[in-house]
């Protein structure tokens, strides 16, 4: 092992046996041989990497790619089928926070048992006790039984113990979601401090932003293999590109499936189904109004289809931040609408109104809607940051009487390569 390395992983492989129906008892093993039928799934397939002392690396990848398994292998909870892992120094893992906590014991007693599980001696725990309690901000509650704690307090205590072990190597699995925003920032700063003290850190996270802030290096694991490795800024865009592609494939499939379903069912049943889903959507919406209809109007004119076209002019439901998007709305005229107004509204999935406009606000000339047609609005740059969004479209007549108001017409996702935060990207430049 190289002296400068804290972790050396060589040709690691791990397969899981996926049992169809597992017999655990002697009888079952003997009598039902077929119950032991299983297939092997290679979760890790020949992974090698080094981590230098004091270096922080991030493992990224989609769900089930093997990154958490890699972390479990590093922490020696499970063992590889072949390959070697060498680690130098004391390892602390923040994988399952609070495992081994006893609900009936006090916070203080739990600090002792939990720290003991990390391999600390009583003397070492005694010397860290004040730091642990102070960090957890639980001074008033430390002598109360843990069962009286809120889940946030529970996690804070668990995190405080794990982070104060003074490990040489720290393994972290998606834990920076501890407590409220204030405590998260504190944890994050503590991690940076620990890192500057020379601790080696391996993080598994879906929050690429966090990895970029702490890690010098990212490893993208895909299907049990290392797909890319390098600076987070170089690796993450590749990963995000891949994820966006996958997303649009899935979204297309889903759209296709829905269309087929629609075609299959009778128009009558369709209406009922619509009403049903509309109801369900209402239930999940956080709106304060108790009864929110998703579609209303006098019915003189009807929206028949709404499409969002991406920069390649293909109907899509996932876009990149800044992409050119054209919204197309087909409508059918039942009765002439005089002084018509077309409009759109965009909401974030949590209900925040992002943007809304219509032809009246934009001072277009007044027009009558006489026959079936399509109206389009082009968003030259969709400067929304990653998230889930909802598009509403509307047709009104003079004085704002709704003709067809169609809420939740399209749900769409936005992805970005850059990790800026907030709601919308504001055009900017730096002078330094």
């Amino acid at each position: 092992m190289d002296k400068n390395n804290a972790i050396e992983v060589r040709h690691l492989t791990k397969r899981f046996k996926v049992y169809y129906d597992k017999g655990n008892s002697f009888k079952e093993r003997l009598l039902f041989k077929e119950r032991n039928a299983h297939e092997d799934r290679w979760v890790i397939n020949d992974i090698s990497f080094d981590v230098k002392k004091g270096e922080a690396i991030g493992l990224v990848g989609h769900n089930g790619c093997g990154k958490s398994t890699t972390l479990k292998l590093l922490s020696k909870i499970i063992y590889p089928d072949s390959g070697t892992i060498e680690m130098a120094g004391r390892v602390s893992s923040l994988i399952e926070l609070g495992a081994g906590f006893h609900k009936d014991m006090t916070g203080r007693e739990n600090i002792y048992t939990n720290a003991a599980i990390f391999g600390l001696t009583r003397k070492e725990i005694d010397s860290r006790l004040d730091d642990i309690i102070a960090f957890s901000e639980l001074e008033e509650f430390i002598d109360n039984p843990v069962r009286t704690y809120s889940s946030g307090m529970y996690m804070r205590l668990a995190f405080s113990v794990a982070i104060n072990v003074d490990a040489d190597i720290l393994l972290i699995d998606e834990i920076l979601a501890v407590g409220d925003a204030g405590f998260q920032t504190k944890c994050f700063n503590k991690l940076k401090e620990i890192k500057s003290n020379g601790t080696t850190i391996v993080i598994v996270s879906h929050s690429l932003g966090q990895i970029e802030q702490i890690c010098e290096r990212s490893i993208w694991i895909h299907e049990g293999k290392i797909e890319a490795e390098g600076k987070p800024r170089d690796v993450h865009p590749q990963y995000l590109d891949y994820m966006a592609q996958q997303r649009s494939i899935i979204a297309e499939k889903e759209a296709k499936r829905l269309k087929e379903k629609e075609a299959k069912e009778h128009p009558e049943a369709q209406k009922q189904a619509d009403a049903q889903t509309a109801k369900e959507e209402e239930a999940t919406e956080k709106s304060k109004e108790k009864k929110v209809k998703t579609r209303w109007g006098n019915g003189d004119c009807k929206v028949t289809e709404v499409r969002m076209m991406d920069s390649r002019n293909i109907a899509n439901t996932s876009f990149n931040t800044g992409e050119k998007v054209v919204i197309e709305v087909d409508y059918q005229v039942i009765k002439k609408v005089s002084d018509g107004v077309f409009g759109i509204g965009i909401f974030r999935s949590d209900g925040v109104h992002i943007y809304g406009t219509n032809t009246r606000i934009d001072n277009l000339e007044v027009f009558d809607i006489l026959q079936d047609g399509t109206y389009k609005i082009t968003l030259d740059h969709l400067e929304l940051l990653p998230g889930n969004y909802i598009l509403d479209v509307s047709i009104e007549c003079d004085q704002g009487i709704p003709v067809d108001f169609y809420k939740n017409a399209v749900k769409f996702d936005v992805f970005a390569r850059i990790g800026d935060v907030g709601v919308s990207r504001l055009a900017h430049h730096w002078d330094i």
């Binding site: 899981f16 003991a116 391999g119």
Partner: protein, 258 residues
């Protein structure tokens, strides 16, 4: 050796588990910790009734003869049967976090051992109160044989606890095995009652030497024979090494099996 040092580093965890086990064992019962002493005394009462009143065996001071062997046997039996589920019972922890898995059987056997040591206080009290007497020179050998039994019990607990993870039935099978083992060990009778032709096989029982050593010290009140002691030490250490190796091999699959 590295493994040994690591387990030593986890002594606070072992310590905590032992204390929790001792404190929690009779939790909720009226007599609480007193059961540690009452339980062997009641067992003694039953066996004495059967073997010196009903099936008279002619052994002098049978209650002493039995008691000095029964207490160590209870410890041994608890270690192999109760110890077998020690890993299984902490399955949640094993699946989620790393610590040397040996800690679990070690903690269980140690807690049973502490129980035995406390029971021996009762044994010594009985010997003094009844006027049976104690040979204090021979008594110096008592800690040695206790340690040997501890190593032996630990070695076997390593094997049973690791195997039980893969084959849950073992927990129940071991109950029967422990009972049979008790009858094959000179706990309730003396070794010289065993037919000569069975001796070669019978002598293979590792607990035989251990129980005989206890009896030498406390019942016959003499320093145990060096050969008995030596065999016991070798067996204890041997079983511990084998047990530790088996455990180390099997523990790699624990998290996946549980």
């Amino acid at each position: 050796m590295k493994r040994f040092r690591e387990i030593y580093n986890y002594r606070e965890m072992i310590n905590g588990l032992v204390r929790k086990d001792l404190r929690g064992r009779y939790k909720g019962s009226v007599l609480g910790f007193a059961w540690t002493f009452i339980n062997p005394l009641l067992q003694l009462l039953v066996y004495t009734m059967v073997f010196s009143v009903i099936m008279r065996n002619g052994i002098q001071d049978y209650y002493v003869f039995l008691f000095v062997a029964l207490v160590p046997w209870i410890f041994f039996s608890a270690s192999i049967t109760g110890g077998s589920s020690s890993v299984l019972a902490s399955g949640d922890m094993v699946k989620k976090i790393y610590f040397p898995r040996e800690v679990l059987p070690i903690a269980y056997v140690t807690s049973a051992f502490v129980n035995m040591v406390l029971s021996f206080v009762v044994v010594l009290l009985v010997l003094l109160v009844t006027g049976y007497g104690i040979n204090f020179v021979a008594l110096l050998y008592l800690p040695i044989i206790m340690l040997v039994e501890y190593l032996l019990a630990l070695g076997i607990a390593f094997i049973t606890s690791a195997c039980t993870v893969y084959l849950r039935d073992l927990e129940y099978i071991l109950g029967i095995i422990a009972m049979a083992w008790q009858f094959l060990t000179p706990v309730m009778y003396a070794s010289d009652m065993v037919p000569d032709r069975l001796l070669p096989i019978w002598n293979l029982n590792p607990m035989k030497s251990v129980i005989e050593a206890y009896r030498d010290i406390l019942y016959y009140q003499q320093v145990p024979q060096l050969s008995t002691l030596l065999v016991a030490v070798l067996l204890g250490v041997g079983f511990l090494i084998v047990g530790a190796i088996v455990f180390d091999k099997l523990q790699k699959g624990f998290a996946e099996e549980l």
